[in-house]
Symmetry: C2
Amino acid sequence: MQIAILLYENMTALDAIGPYEVLSRLPGAKLCFTAERAGPVRTDTGFLQLVAQRPLEEVPSADLLLVPGGPGDVAVRENEATLDWVRRIHAGSTWTTSVCTGSLILAAAGLLDGKPATTHWASLDTLAELGAKPRRERAVWSDKIVTAAGVSAGIDMALRLAAKIAGDDFARALQLGIEYDPDPPFDAGSPDKVEPELRDLVRNALLRA
Amino acid sequence: MQIAILLYENMTALDAIGPYEVLSRLPGAKLCFTAERAGPVRTDTGFLQLVAQRPLEEVPSADLLLVPGGPGDVAVRENEATLDWVRRIHAGSTWTTSVCTGSLILAAAGLLDGKPATTHWASLDTLAELGAKPRRERAVWSDKIVTAAGVSAGIDMALRLAAKIAGDDFARALQLGIEYDPDPPFDAGSPDKVEPELRDLVRNALLRA
């Protein structure tokens, strides 16, 4: 199974690395990080570079495409070469997936027109402007397209994909392997669960990013 | 606040990237990925390289040290230069932390002698052999040393560290920012929660890695 993960400048690393840690361990998985150019790609904090093994033109197809999010999505949405690549991969994929604002890239490529989808909670309006029908859910399944909510939601989505692809027992083994028995310190992971002031503060900080 | 994250060949990426995504966003955080040599470091699946910005000798101190785990811990535990660096950083740190089998490296450096600590559930015996008092907990706090359980446990630990360092409201904002409202598909993230056969299967797969 060929898995392609798109990298781009100013992406959020965990959007890609959470699902990677699950999907790369599927039976027979061959996973490739790819970007416009091969080599180091700077993520949104400025502190980390992930290495793209191959440029997009050397990745002609994939069974599973994952598009992460991050503030860099804005530039990718205007990059016709990358959007063309996304469309080409999607045309032959079994699964086309995104995490966080990665769905805005899928939408900009025209893959979500009129379809239910999700994204980071602070970007649902933008997702609607790009033609999708936004949903406030952890992951939205629409035929072969799966869009996950913000950043950490990619881990939950990847485990569900693993169950579809390799069965529940294999997915449970992967979950045990990464000891994913979450114990967040606060019940503050969703905009419905915090006071409006905190929600606005985080939304504004993200818009500045 | 200077944060140093150790990279090494055959580490598990999510051990580092989960906490990085939280800690790099603390007020005034300056975060550095460092390794024996600067440049790309191959992670345990063989599909991903993370870039170390600076070699260890150019990182003389840090307020917070994070040591991730992964099958490569075995080689690091025999690398006296790296263990010396860990000891030097720990001598001046405010927090010394690990995720997964990163605690085996802390133990090999002599930092956990007789102290309570945790690690990936499949490595608790090794942690005891290295002189620590193993605990089956999501994170163990022992003065300034904090050790987290396997892989994904680093996210929970990092949010708790963020609360100690920047206050509960800031940590809640970070949790909301990464939309950490976990929804795992199975209740299989802990060895206590699965059948012995699945536990043995995962343990053996990890030992082969």
